[in-house]
Symmetry: C2
Subunit: 584 residues, 2 copies
């Protein structure tokens, strides 16, 4: 047990320190204490770190501040639990207003010893209030790979935030359990070169990094681009040109603005959420370089796929200071406007290799054919399929979260119409969806909303505004009488409390709601009624509600049937997989 | 200008310090600085204050902590702006966990010099996070009486919180404009006895204070009791016995549980909201002692009446640590369970004087007669009047905020039925009213909700729960098509933007909402339809909605007409006013 505890402590913190050092933090001012022992010992053990000790934390912090100011680099300060950290406060505030990158490390009691009168245990969470740029209460040390990645990622992130404009202090609070002694025998700080690189651009990619990245890009034979929500619409052309030049398939989320429009679509994958689930294909599809733009796509299958890969270079390109990498697999965090990022590489590759891309295109095309062939029954997916085909050029479709966005992910295929898809993917809530779409309708022509019955109910009151300001929108309510997404989750297998806690059927007839708010209304129960209902809604101004009656169980069964069908056929068709000619 | 500025600074801070001293803070540790000059000079000038100076704020704070620990009393520490206050942090945290009453005073820049790069201006608001029991950013100094009262009140309050169980630090942040020199000539710290007394009981009134208060009570000839919302239901009997023994009229808010029930009602005033508006009566009704229980009553007329009085003893009795005194007129803040407070005085007065009470009873009875006689037209008030009479014994009526609670205040007359009136008066919102009432219905028989159309619309979704759990409730919706209360406010006189910004008519037919949620429904447009509708609703289980159609303009006109009628008649009838026989 003690060995296991010690191993966790050692690997987790060694990774954290290695990462700090790799990102330029190689001086630390330590104020002696007990709880901070593991970090103190590991810092001292690192051959590349210069340590100073100072018993007065207030002086220690200002001393660290002085080093940082003189050498223009981030400096760490480390102290024990209790009021020790409070003595850092004046220097932390000076660092904030003086714009000095200070990495503040406070040790803390573990959660079970907080607020129970343990000695030197005070509430250290957010100890410096608004006076630090970032504050994090770290997880307890663990040595499984994902947690070691988390330690690395957190270290790189803090240094990045601290040294980002305007520079300033960041705060890590580390809870530790006793015993507090790491096993220094287990540590080899061999690699001083961090596996994480944080590249801070002022919108532009710093030229110093361009060569390294280009080199990595050219060496790669199996690169992929992943486009999530939140990419600037004006970056689409550049991303496509970049991917075309380097032969990279683009896995494009429905909210990325990449699937639809007049741009060329030879590289765009629109069925990955389906084919990436096929076990027999996974290995063939494994990339050797991932370049991500925007937030994580909605596809859970893609997220699992990316997590399952061996360590490969993963560039997370972000048009801001976000750290959009819940997989913690990023090796490069690149803060740069997507457009300018792509421009830095365009026109620098003379012999593009098409084989890898063509394999992906083949898989994608086969899948699309199967999705069309295999989708027989009338269900929510089929309705979404018809809705997309019906949308006029220039339409805006707002998608609710939960099932609608997932159905869009499956059935929104690339085409040349200019169709813009939006959703609230900041916090992914099902609240306020009707009102957000109505707000968007004030600046859009041909406005449509795709929404489930729960989300529609949640913001029913939003319709009052539509009537007051005479807004125009067609609302397609997928009424499966409750929370459809839960039927896809593990709790659906045990029916004991399922309907009450998750299914939550409401048994509402939205015809009454339409009357209350003076909206047009039609109810659709069969496939042949849907298109006529859409066409009729297009004839009328104001709010038109089309209530599509579906069934939760059937939806799940159909979805699973379709995935199984695709999986079976793809396994048969794509036998042999992809063989990289360059590695032969 | 400078004189005026100096006068503000001087009177405001002298009052604050006098109040600190009056509440036992007579030692202060000062760390020299510029911004803190006015407080430093005034502390030094106070003959009853012992000052210490210490240039290191960290040491100064711990030194102050030591005094407080040794002498078991609250001690103040004062420093300048900027990181000075941050140096207090370790001692503040020690005081919190060590339970030491420390009064932390930090000087700050005024608002216009914050976050604009002024020297030594950091964000000092909530500087100590969760580590102080109370933190307040004070108003800039002003010398008008209400602001001097606020300074006094804040001082007394902070000491009270700091010395209350468990003892701990409190933080005042004081913004000051230059010049920073008070006029010491203007200050006379003559009264070391504070005008505020904070009496902290551990539920019980400390016996040491009993004699003084009893003395004050016996000397009074014109005392009144004010009962607001939030009084314990089990305290009603004691409050009444107390008021009866001392001949005190009880001004009882509709949410005080005092107006209705089987207890004796000889002292209870239920029409004060109306008669207190009558200018000619005000002087006759002026009390010489006010004893308040619970929160401030809903009546704005009462609030204005209490504010308009000359300085008189005002006891704010609170069953907890609240400081429920927006008028800032309290002279005694007494933390004591209401029941135990009253018991401390019962049986100690042998010759109760009835004259004062009888005058109030006469005024109240006359008013009630006039309210009944003068109220001819059918309107919301009339509906409330009928609703109250209809309620069965044991009923619970939940009132929405805004107009319903005000109509109840006017028309809820004392009677012997056990009717319990509730409302959300914590933050007085119109959100969630339907759901709160439905929640209450799970623990009440004969549940009624009185609500306006805006609040009803706001929580329409709440009705889903009623259907799901088969809850029973009759909802009386006063539909005046918009925000009725605004018609009583000054903005109603200029109609330019009134309907759009305040009236907010919704033109909703709630019959559709009733259908959507499967509720019983009837619409009432005339007086003779209302009682039958209530009786019919009582026959059916589930939710019954009675929509009472009213008119905003007519409601206001009727209300004003009624008040004018009462005022005219009362002025005529009560000519001569009350003459205190004891003062003749």
């Amino acid at each position: 047990m003690i060995d296991e505890h010690q191993e966790k402590l050692t690997h987790y913190l060694a990774a954290f320190i290695e990462e700090l050092v790799g990102n330029g933090v190689d001086e630390v001012v330590i104020s002696p204490g007990s709880r901070s022992t593991p970090l103190a010992l590991l810092f001292a053990h690192h051959p590349g770190v210069k340590t100073y000790t100072n018993v007065d934390e207030r002086s220690a912090a200002f001393f660290g501040l002085g080093i940082a100011k003189a050498k223009k680099k981030p400096v760490a300060i480390l102290c024990s639990s209790g009021t020790a950290g409070a003595n850092y406060y004046p220097a932390v505030i000076e660092a904030r207003y003086g714009k000095v990158p200070l990495i503040v490390l406070t040790a803390d009691r573990p959660h079970e010893l907080r607020e129970v009168g343990a000695p030197q245990a005070i509430n250290q969470i957010d100890l410096y209030g608004k006076h630090v740029k970032w504050s994090v209460d770290m997880a307890l040390p663990e040595s499984i790979p994902s947690m070691v990645k988390y330690a690395r990622s957190s270290a790189a992130r803090g240094v990045s935030i601290s040294t980002g404009y305007p520079q300033g202090p960041v705060h890590y609070n580390f809870p530790f359990r006793e015993p507090l002694i790491p096993n220094l025998q287990q540590v080899e700080f061999t690699s001083y070169q961090s596996v994480k690189t944080v590249i801070q651009g002022d919108r532009q990619l710093p030229s110093g990094y361009q060569h390294d990245l280009l080199d990595q890009l050219k060496k790669s034979n199996r690169g992929i681009v992943v486009c999530g929500p939140g990419i600037g619409e004006d970056a689409v052309q550049s991303i496509i040109a970049f991917a075309e030049e380097y032969g990279l398939p683009i896995l494009a989320d429905p909210l990325s603005f990449v699937r639809n429009g007049s741009h060329s679509k030879g590289n765009i994958m629109d069925c990955y959420d389906t084919f990436i689930r096929v076990d027999e294909l996974k290995e063939s599809l494994h990339p050797d370089l991932v370049i991500r733009f925007g937030a994580m796509p909605v596809s859970k299958a893609l997220m699992l796929f990316l997590k399952s890969m061996p360590d490969i270079p993963t560039w997370v390109v972000s048009n801001g200071e976000e750290w959009q990498d819940p997989t913690a697999r990023g090796t490069h965090y690149i803060q740069c406007e997507e457009n300018l990022f792509c421009q830095a590489f365009i026109g620098k590759n003379d012999k593009p290799d098409r084989e890898w891309l063509e394999y992906w295109v083949g898989v994608n095309d086969e899948t699309k054919g199967l999705l069309n062939d295999g989708h027989e029954s009338w269900d929510e997916g089929k309705a979404v399929h018809h809705l997309i085909r019906h949308l006029p050029d220039g339409a805006t479709l707002f998608s609710s979260n939960s099932m609608p966005i997932r159905d869009l992910d499956t059935f929104l295929f690339t085409d040349d119409r200019s169709i813009r898809i939006f959703a609230n993917r900041g916090a992914n809530g099902i609240d306020g969806v009707v009102s957000t779409a109505l707000g968007m309708s004030t600046g859009s022509q041909s406005m449509y909303l795709l929404i489930g019955d729960l989300a529609f109910f949640h913001d029913l009151n939003g319709l009052l505004t539509a009537r007051k300001y005479q807004l125009d929108m067609t609302i397609i309510v997928m009424n499966n009488n409750g929370g459809g997404i839960f039927s896809y989750l593990p709790q659906a297998t045990d029916q004991t409390h399922f309907e009450d806690l998750f299914g939550t059927p409401m048994d509402l007839d939205f015809a009454h709601a339409a009357k209350l708010y003076g909206a047009g209304y039609s109810k659709v129960s069969a496939e042949e009624e849907f298109i006529p209902a859409l066409m009729e809604a297009d004839q009328y101004k104001g709010i038109n509600i089309i209530e599509v009656m579906t069934n939760r169980e059937e939806n799940v069964a159909n979805h699973r049937k379709l995935w199984n069908f695709v999986s079976r056929e793809m396994t048969r068709k794509m036998k042999g997989g992809y063989r990289d000619s360059s590695s032969e």
